[in-house]
Amino acid sequence: MDDLETHEHDVIVIGAGGAGLRAAIEASTQGVSVGLICKSLLGKAHTVMAEGGVAAALANTDSRDNWQVHFRDTMRGGKMLNNWRMAQIHAQEAPERVNELEEWGALFDRTADGRILQRNFGGHRYPRLAHVGDRTGLEMIRTLQNHGIHQGFEVYMECTVTHLFKDGGRIAGAFAYWRDTGRFVLFRAKAIVLATGGIGKAYTVTSNSWEYTGDGHALAFRTGADLIDMEFVQFHPTGMIWPPSVRGILVTEGVRGEGGVLKNSEGERFMFNYVPEMFQGEYAESEEEAQRWLGGDKSARRPPELLTRDVVSRAIRSENLAGRGSPHGGVYLDIASQQDAEFIKRKLPSMYHQFKQLGDVDITRQPMEIGPTCHYVMGGVRVDAETAHSTVPGLFACGEVAGGMHGANRLGGNSLSDLLVFGRRAGKSAVEYAKSQSSAPEIDADEVAQAEREDLAPFEGRGDENPYALLQDLQKCMETYAGIVRTRADLQQGLEELAGLQQRLARVTVEGTRQYNPGWHYALDLHNMLTVSVAIATAALNREESRGAHSRLDFPDSLPDMEKFNLTLTYRDGQLECRREPRPEMPDELKQLIEVGPGELTADDVAPRFERRRGF
């Protein structure tokens, strides 16, 4: 271990998307030494692909908005499984975080009087998403990157972490390899913040890219941290589906926010038929009412195309099962009939170019063919709401890798605000924790040697398994058995196949040297993807009901008893434990915010409504 490249920081942040950058910025302003490790280039993380906007109750575009309504929308969108304290903190702090970003230089579309303009999005009662056209994520990551690069933290780019170390119970450091040289590097740290994003690469049709292999989820899990809500994987209703080469690429929900409608092959706006009981009375009941809403009539209700993502994805699936789908298994998203060409090009420039270029479709004249695509994981590392601290001392998690905030289904726009709110909190708490440690943790040399052996195993292999073939089989398995709809038999079959893939993984062999070797990178990523896939399938098997993004054909209803717990997974002695974690009782004042009817909701005007919520 003596000749191993070693770096030492008080706080290490793993992942440089929105959450990791915000955490690193916060930590470095507290005057400690901070290292930021990312597996791709700085500024290329998945945040850059976010399009529609960042949700915050600024009340610029509709003065009726406030944090209470945002909290209510988030909890109802999450089908009541959210960590309510996280949802509360998120709704309360998001406006300040957005304003802060603006002050750091972020560009936003503006109201005529110069304030940040907000747009409509699914599940948000009022126009709430601060945005710049349909490239909000790019603006956000660039602003954080530019703000961050003069803050004084060290950046380790194209460096992939494969192991975390502990000293006794507390976190001690991380083991990684440089992607370009393949050399190993050791990071010693008092505190580590995971901000590694999601797991979408475990599915065939996905808006996620090669980086999204569940690294943080798996690292935390193997280090002894709890995972929570892993059964909830979000399938975004609008991904591109044609031509096949672009299948899965995201089409922003902003298209619907700006007036786009969903139609089946018969030209019917089918979403009117899919308003769940929970949202009855809150959405327009006729096309006429929906048109008035689009025209700015505040007495009209929102069109049902703006229902939450879980509901819309399932509706698209149902339309296809009923034989009313589009030729390639989706439905039509049409904004051409709702807005003029100039408006579309101004508000959705990236979508216009994306379809024109990749799909040969002019969205100002023609409808888009779209269908569900794996987009986001609600589940993640179980953290304390205030501090983002995981169940392992010194290990923090924020952004997509953290669980709890979004419950059973995330609202669009709540991810970018989540990154800012909890990125900042994680950075701050990690510093406080690091400062509280009187001695630097030690890393066991034997564990380092073991990590090195494990990472090099694919070169030593005598097996005949190709990592790419294994990846494809894993994706197919998850898509088939743990996708938009699940059954007990499917999930059991899926788990069985995952066990088989685990055995094949031991036989994976890669060729070439360690220098920038994508086959080797896949081989190591597969360990994480398998860990996460087993966690998803296990949790999905154990939640015998349908709720939010988790749909069980054999248990089609939401059951009131199942609202009382989250599923928590722990890895102990090589075994995975799944248990029901009772949900803490919500304070009455928050309960009231949620139970209030679909009328006006302001801070002073909340009344409990004693109605049983069911049929999510």
């Binding site: 300040e96 304003n99 750091w104 503006r110 790419y468």
Partner: protein, 249 residues
């Protein structure tokens, strides 16, 4: 009928075993809906797992997959095989940068250049966040919005003949970024940027070839930004004698 194919002639470089780049020819199935990136991923996944290149979003926003395609700087996620088929496609790493391996370039120098133009809002006095956002009208935003869409893909550096011979040149994207902040109505820091922009590695090295704007996939138009910076620099020199703090004109 045999399945149609297409041939990609791909630059390979594997130090320390290879001292100079070589090329390798791959003939793969031709699919008209594939972009060059799809073809490269097909090669990596099905033919040769050792081929290295960067990519991520597949939708032209991350700026990772820039390469030279038949000698032109392009995002490989945005150029179709059908535009070349049945001809061979030559794939090389971005021009003007050191190559790490195969199609992967060393761009660490670029991040340093971004930093020196101070790409953040600089204010005489900072306003507390609790007071809300800085006001900026849609018209004020339009003044710089076009220059803010850079995805750091480096195509403009690969196309710039000046950068090709003078690597200290700050270059198109970084100068456009500096201009973007100078034009931002919220910013009062243009004074702090002039010394860099006016430096001999700054705007004055540009001879207005304009290739940067031609290759930009986001229509940022760095060439226009640089020309306007030159005009502003001249104006600034006169004004700086009269005004202590760089108020915007």
């Amino acid at each position: 009928m045999p399945e149609p194919t297409i041939t990609l002639n791909v630059s390979r470089y594997r130090p320390p075993d290879e001292r100079v780049p070589t090329s390798q020819v791959y003939t793969i199935p031709y699919r008209p809906d594939w972009v060059v990136l799809d073809a490269l991923n097909y090669i990596k996944d099905q033919v040769d797992g050792s081929l290295s290149f960067r990519w991520s979003c597949r939708m032209g926003v991350c700026g990772s997959c820039g390469m030279m395609i038949n000698g032109e700087a392009k995002l490989t996620c945005s150029v179709f095989l059908r535009d070349y088929h049945p001809r061979e496609i030559l794939v090389e790493p971005l021009e003007n940068f050191p190559v790490i391996k195969d199609l992967v370039i060393d761009m660490s120098d670029f991040l340093d250049k971004l930093k020196i133009v101070k790409p953040w809002i600089i204010r005489e006095t900072e306003k507390p966040t609790s007071e809300g956002e800085y006001l900026q009208t849609p018209e004020e935003m339009d003044a710089y919005m076009g220059f803010s869409a850079c995805i750091n893909c480096l195509l403009c550096y690969a196309a710039c003949p000046i950068f090709g011979v003078e690597t200290d040149f700050i270059g198109p994207a970084a100068l456009a970024l500096g201009y973007r902040y100078n034009q931002d109505s919220r910013d009062e820091g243009s004074n702090m940027r002039w010394n860099v922009i006016n430096d001999h590695h700054g705007t004055w090295q540009c001879t207005f070839v304009g290739e940067c704007s031609v290759v930009c996939p986001k229509d940022v138009d760095p060439a226009a930004a640089i020309q306007r910076l030159k005009v502003d620099t001249a104006k600034h020199w006169i004004r700086s004698v009269l005004l202590p703090w760089g108020k915007r004109a």
